[in-house]
Structure formats: C-alpha cells, structure tokens
Amino acid sequence: MADSSLAVEHQEGLDHQFVDREQQRNAASLGMWVFLGTEVMFFGGMFCAYLIYRYWYYNEFAAGSRSLDIVLGTTNTAVLICSSLTVALGVRAAQMGKRRLLLLLLLATLVFGLGFLVIKGVEWHDKYVEHHIPGPSFNAEELIRKNPELHIDPAPTQIYFSLYFAMTGLHALHMVVGVGIFCFLTYYAWKGRYTPEYHTPVEIGGLYWHFVDIIWIYLFPLLYLIDRKR
C-alpha cells in the first residue's frame, strides 16, 4: 500500500494530500457545488425580502418594473445565455484537449461577460438620469405620472429600486469575479496547462459561470416582467 503510493510518479497538478487525480477532481467539483449552495442562500436572503415586499407593495413594484428597459434586459439575458454556451463548449474543448478552440471559447466568454457588464452599466446610468437611485435625490414623480391607474405610494417605490440595485449590483459583482476567474483560465489555457487528463479548473470555473447565469435567469423575470400588460 505504502510502496505503491510512493511509487506513483509526480503528476502535473496533483496536490500531495490526494491519492490520485480522480479524488482531487471529485473533491474540487464537490467543493464548487457546495460553494454554489452557499451562494444560493446568499441571494436567497434578497429573494426572501423581494417576495415579502412584492406581496406588500405590488403596485409600486409594477411601476418600478415598467420603468426598466425591457429590450436591454432581454438582450442581456441572451448575452449571458450565449456566454454559457461558450463556457459549455469550452469545457468540451478542454476535455478533448483542443487548446486553440478552448482559448477561442474562453475569450468569447470574456467578451460576452464584459458585454453584459457594459449593458448593465448603461441601464444603471439610465436610472441615475431618471433619479431612480434610492436616497435623498430619489424622485418618484415620473413613476406616478406614467402609472396613474396604480395609485402609487412614493415611499415604497424606493424599496423596489433598493432591491433592484442590491440584486443586480451583487450579481454584477459576481460577474466581475467570474471575468477575473476566466482571465486566469485563459492565461493558463494559453500556456497549455490543460489536458484531457487535467482540466478541473476549467470545469469548476465553468460551474461558477453557469451559476451566475442562473441567478440572472431568475432576476430577469422577477425584476423586469412584474406587470408589463397595460
């Protein structure tokens, strides 16, 4: 037992505490899944607040939701879905050991990710121009004027936008972290570190990216599509 484990020659990327690559790979994958579980609970706190306030202040939420740009929102959803495709194909390329294809797909993911952040920035800027950022300069007059049938109370509209900024802001922060991870992956893919035998970082980095995509898949209907029918 001891002799055979000592006899195993040093494998690229195998840490000393593991017996073999499979154990390391399984540990890394479980670790990422468990971490994503904690992330669900992190966003879960905000989803809980959202649920309760939407139940209390439906009209104010509807008015706030209508003021968001649905074209930009839908585009951003599509951008993220495209990025998820390039990630999934990237993992496949890594599995098959196609270095150039992997590099190309990782770069495409980075482009989509940054594109999402740019569009998000444009939307936030619109909110700034419309005085829809919660705080002393918040102004609900436009919401009241545009939605006379909802009889809006101006105070709780700030709750909608507080949640909007907290949720999209923390989601964007996760995107920034994701872009950082993918820069790291791109660098090592360029150096040719990933092989069909060892590509765990690409896989678990991909899991993180898909998760951030899933959060947006829920944020989109919850924030943009509350009450669009007139």
Partner: protein, 544 residues
C-alpha cells in the same frame, strides 16, 4: 536524512521547520489549527475583558463606573467579539482543523490553501474589528437591530458589520473544507458508520455554517448598504419592515448557537467513552441527532421575536417547532449518561469538563424550553433569564467542551502532558465560577431585571454581587490552563502516542504527528469506540 550519526529528535510537524515564514505560509492543517488557537485566544481575552468591565459596572446599582453609552458599547463588543471571533471558530477551527483530517485518515484537508486563506480572513476581520473597538466601538448590540443600527446609531456600525461579514467568509470556507474532506478523503474501510462522532458533529456544524452564514452575510451587507448608500430595505420611513431584518438575522443567528454547541457535543462524545472505557451507547442515535439538530435548528428562529410583533399564528408555529430541538439534544444527553452507566470511570481533567458540560448544557437546554414556551417567553424576554440561559449553552456548553477537548488532545497537539492536579483544579474552578456567575442571573431575570441596562434597582444588588464575584473566579479558571499549557510545552512530561488509551485514528500516529499525519494511510477494519479491544493505560498519565 538518517545519514547523521547523532540520534536526532523524531521529525514531526512542529520541528520540520522553524521561523515565522514557515508558520505564516504553512498549508499544514495542524499548524493552521495552532495559528487559530493563538488568534482566538487573543480575542477570548479581549471579549473577557469587556465581560469583566460589564460585571464591575453591575457590582453597584448606580451607573457609576462607565458612562451609559460606554456600557452599551461594552456589551455590544463583548457579544460580537465572543461570538464571531471566539465561539464560532473555537472548536471547529482549532480542534476540528487539527483532528478532522487525522480522524478520517487523510494527509490534510481537501483544500489546504483555502484553509490558510480562511485563517487570514479571520485575522483580517479581527483587525477591522479591533480598529472598530479602538476608534470608538459600536453600540447597536451584537444583533444589529434596525432601524437603530441603520438610522440612529452614530457609532461604527458599517465597520463592525464588514468585520463580521469577512469573519463569515472564514467560517464558510472552514465548513466547506470539512464537508469535502469528510466526503472525499476518508481512509479505505472508514465507512460513515465507523466515523468518530466528532466527525459527525463537525459535518452537521459545517452544514449550518454553509447554509446559514450566507444569509447573515447578505443581511449585514444590506444594513451596510442602507447606512452607506441610502438603500431602503429595512427602513420603516420608506415602508420597509425592521422585522424582516430580524427574520433574516435570526435565520443564521439561531442556528449559529448550534455551530457553537454541536462541535462541543462531538468532543464530549469522544471523551466520555474513553474515560468510561466503554463503547458509546447508541452510536447511530448520537450521530443522527447531530444531523437532526442541524436541520431542526433552522426551523425555530422566530422564537427570538415573540414580542417583536410577528403574527400570533406564526409565533405558535415557531413555539412548537422550538420544542423539536429538545428531542435530539435529549437523545445525546441520555446516550452519554448511558455510556457512563457501569463504565470504569476515570475522573481525569477532560472527563471533568465533559461531565460539567452535560450538567450545564442540560440546565441551559431546559431553560431554553421555558423560552420556547410562548407564554413564559413573553414574561422573561430581554431579561437576565435569557442572558443566563444562553451563557449556560455557550459558555457552560461550548467553552467547557472546547477546554475539555483542548485538555484531551493537548498531548497529541504538543507532545507533552500538562500537570494533572492543576488541570483538575482549573476544571473545578471553571465549574464553580461559572455557576456562581450565571445561576444568580436566572433569578435576577425571573424577578424582572432587564438586560442591557447599566444601572438597576438596589434590591437586585445581592445577586449581582454574587455574579460579579463568580466572574472573577471564572476568569482565574480560564487563565490557569493558558499558563500551564504554555509551561507544559517546555517542561511537561513527554507524552506517548496514546496516553489515554483512546480509540480513534488520531491516537494511532505519533505525538506530535508527522507533517503527513500517518506514515502510511491506515486501512480501517474496526468500528468506532472499540474500547473492549483497547487496554486501559497501565497508569493514568500524570504530568509533572
């Protein structure tokens, strides 16, 4: 290596390398455990210092030692430091870090670098917290209740909130490492039903850390956003609900009590069979009750809010659910007692702590049932009854478990024995001091003395003097072990691999263990706690 003719000391994790870098950049779980030990000891004494100031202020009915504002800051920072910087990391990060890989027969945790990172996060959080304390402190109470914390307090709420946010990351990463290690790194033959109960307890603790802490993180972050960026999620002037803050806060902070107590239960489940020389009674019941506590612990949080304005119907639901937690807790207590029944009991220092734990935890748990009962809770909410109750759990339970575990595994950690008579003396001092400090508080609370006030009516003075007197005895009981542990590192008798004759993989390797824990990865073919197969040590090891 063996080329030198001079007989060299056996190489182990403490003497493989010296120098500050070999500690600050180590990825060895045993060294990281010691880093944690030093860190949380510092915070324990800072928190204890605040506690003594609180007790000194309450020695007299008049508010005469500190200003009222200062008193508010003292109890706030006592709570925050003790809970987030001592109790939450105490057993998991020190004993768990040291023992989990050894108990599962692995060379290290699954992610050693993340383990080191989590220590650095705790240190970073600790520095932010110390900066908060030095530059003015916080007065929101450790609970950060809104709208006081968001709109009215003019102390450093943002900084303290961020400190705890960062400490939360540290806690999450520790839990993540444990879950993955327990799932993926077990030695061949070590099935789930052969795992030590310490591992089961840490598995359950990790579940709470992983699924609860993120909710606290987002809640504190929203408070910080509300103060810093004028977001209005809990702000009643904009239609927000302060009770929502309490819901989210207690969703973590109630189960957080089980983060503190479950590992202590794991320690006790190791100590009791060893010093009773018997296999644990009802192994699977004790194992499953840990998991049950982790799950039920999440169903009871609103019993902290019975008088805060939640609906009566939900209060009734939460009251009933709170009783559920008593079931697995009682299962544990009964099984430990049954283990001792007809055992060959040795009253060594760890056993004294373990037995103290059973008694104090039972009292803390039973008074918890008073508080879970809707009617009585309305009567004693926010009184010293509550203070006494949770100190019986957190100090009488968690800290007794921590000290018991530290004494039990100290020979393994340091390779030395501590002086047994001093150990016993300290254990008894802690037990007496603790009861003298906190038992009078049950009576005070029942008589109606509210918590968080710096002065009180003169008729409460006798009990308060008793409590303050007890706290000084307790302080002596806590300083003593630190002194003789430090002493024993140089002068203590050398411990052999298994001084207690204990079961468990960690006792099968040398004391202190080599860096890779085992010379070869063990293959397990026996059940846990097979004390019928292990001879008791010829003589009880007595340190000099």
């Amino acid at each position: 290596m063996a080329s030198t003719a001079i007989p060299v000391e056996r190489e182990h994790y403490l003497n493989t390398d010296y120098g500050i870098r070999s500690w600050l950049f180590t990825t060895d779980h045993k060294r990281i455990a010691l880093l944690y030990l030093v860190t949380i000891t510092v915070f324990f004494f800072i928190g204890g210092f605040f506690a003594l100031l609180i007790r000194l202020e309450l020695l007299t009915p008049a508010g005469d030692l500190v200003l009222a504002d200062t008193y508010n800051k003292l109890f706030t920072m006592h709570g925050q430091v003790m809970i987030f910087f001592f109790l939450i990391p105490s057993i998991p990060a020190v004993l768990g870090n040291f023992l989990v890989p050894m108990m599962v027969g692995a060379k290290d945790l699954a992610f050693p670098r993340i383990n080191l990172l989590s220590w650095y996060l705790l240190v970073a959080a600790g520095i932010v917290m110390l900066h908060t304390i030095i530059t003015g402190g916080v007065d929101s109470g450790w609970t950060f209740y809104t709208p006081f914390s968001t709109a009215f307090s003019n102390t450093k709420v943002i900084e303290a909130g961020l400190a705890i946010f960062i400490a939360g990351f540290s806690s999450i990463l520790t839990g993540l490492n444990f879950v993955v290690t327990i799932h993926r790194m077990r030695a061949p033959g070590l099935t789930w039903s052969r795992l030590p109960l310490f591992i089961w307890a840490h598995y359950a603790t990790s579940i709470i850390q992983l699924l609860g802490t993120p909710v606290l993180a987002i809640t504190l972050l929203l408070v910080v956003f509300e103060r810093a960026f004028h977001l209005g999620i809990f702000d009643p002037t904009r239609g927000g609900d302060p009770l929502l803050f309490q819901h989210l806060f207690w969703f973590y902070s109630h189960p957080a009590v089980y983060i503190m107590i479950l590992p202590a239960m794991g320690v006790v489940a190791e100590i009791i069979p060893c010093f009773s020389r018997k296999r644990i009674f009802g192994y699977s019941a004790v194992a499953m009750s840990s998991i049950a506590i982790a799950v039920f612990g999440f169903l009871v949080w609103a019993h902290h809010m019975f008088v805060a304005g939640i609906s009566l119907y939900s209060a009734m639901i939460f009251s009933i659910l709170s009783y559920l937690v008593a079931v697995p807790s009682a299962i544990k207590v009964f099984n430990w007692t049954a283990t001792m029944y007809k055992g060959s009991i040795h009253f060594d220092t760890p056993m004294l702590y373990a037995m103290g734990f059973i008694g104090l935890f039972t009292m803390g748990g039973l008074t918890g049932l008073f508080l879970a009962a809707l009617g009585i809770d309305v009567h004693v909410t926010d009184t010293y009854f509550v203070i006494a109750h949770f100190h019986y759990i957190m100090v009488g339970g968690a800290v007794m478990g921590y000290l018991g575990g530290l004494h039990f595994w100290w020979p393994k950690i340091s390779g030395r024995l501590y002086p047994e008579w001093l150990g016993k003396f300290a254990a008894l001092t802690v037990f007496l001091g603790f009861n003298l400090t906190f038992f009078p508080q049950f009576i005070l609370g029942y008589l109606g003395m509210p918590r968080r006030y710096w002065e009180y009516p003169p008729e409460f003075q006798v009990l308060n003097v008793l409590s303050t007197a007890g706290s000084t005895i307790l302080a002596v009981g806590y300083v003593l072990p630190m002194i003789y542990f430090l002493w024993s590192m140089r002068y203590g008798k050398i411990a052999d691999a298994n001084p207690w004759g204990a079961a468990g993989l960690e006792w099968k390797t040398a004391s202190p263990p080599p860096t890779d824990n085992f010379r070869e990865i063990p293959e397990v073919s026996w059940e846990a706690y097979n004390y019928d197969e292990i001879p008791a040590p010829a003589e009880v090891p007595v340190g000099r």
